[in-house]
Symmetry: C2
Subunit: 199 residues, 2 copies
Amino acid sequence: MAAAEFWYEFASTYSYPAAMRVASLAEARGVTIAWRPFLLGSIFATQGWRDSPFNIYPAKGRYMWRDLQRICAALKLALKRPEPFPQNSLLAARTALALEGEARANFSRLVYAAEFGEGLPIADRTTIAALLAKLGLDPEGILAQAEGEANKARLKAEGARAAELGIIGAPSLVTDDGEVFWGNDRLEQGLDWVAGRRD
Amino acid sequence: MAAAEFWYEFASTYSYPAAMRVASLAEARGVTIAWRPFLLGSIFATQGWRDSPFNIYPAKGRYMWRDLQRICAALKLALKRPEPFPQNSLLAARTALALEGEARANFSRLVYAAEFGEGLPIADRTTIAALLAKLGLDPEGILAQAEGEANKARLKAEGARAAELGIIGAPSLVTDDGEVFWGNDRLEQGLDWVAGRRD
């Protein structure tokens, strides 16, 4: 079966609509998705950025929020800007990585809905624990695993792998033949590529 | 009739496929397009950039060229990277601005085809003069007008207007109600907006 990796960062605004869309778009094309949470921080740092480019460049930030508003309206997704922006995504990323398969995908969608749909603080342990409980999972056990040394190291390795693949932003779809499609607006094109429709 | 402005920069890679697509996409939706050539330089300068962001951030540049290759292949557009990149677009922009209506649109498409389809140096007077001649226009007369003080000042004013509209990159489609849609990949969405399909 055709397969693609969906690389996403919980602090990334455009990853929100992408995370909400990717499963059904992939299913419609018979493509299997591996969910790969990672942190963009080290990739941004190599570009000299210590904050979100949407904060560093205010005009770009204004454009992005309006663009996202239009996108979410078209998809009938709630949108509420979290404060501060960007949210610290470390705990959410570690937690997602500690889960596997459908649990990881479901948890990730819940995080995005909480963060950008309701404006909730995803850096808070209580927010993350509540989302895990909502999925019928054991919050304390999973958080302990998420913050274990092995999982922390694994998340760092994921970031290094992302850079190696040529990922420069999130979300990015990486195909089985190494193509990178960056952006919520490239999901269809990337999945078509994987499904063999490369016209 | 519904109307939109198409703001483009001759040094901009993604403006190439957009310039080749915008007329037929607009016609299909009954939208009139005003072609607005401008220079991104002063907008980039406010972000601290003195070169193309695709040169400043090499990983971003690598991604962009591959992305553009895929886009041009799908549209069956030739693609040849001009050297140096970016090309100095001042003369082409002044010349386009000195033309009106269909002549401006036709000239602009020829510039993009020469620059990114054939890799020709668009900063050269001989290139620009040849394109004008191809359109049956008077190269010397138009170049003299293009480099007149009034036209130079007009191009500067266009750049200021672009910044005022909230434009942060090229191509950008600006709707009659002030929405900005940035990127070749937002053309359809922007034109749908103008045509009243704002779902």
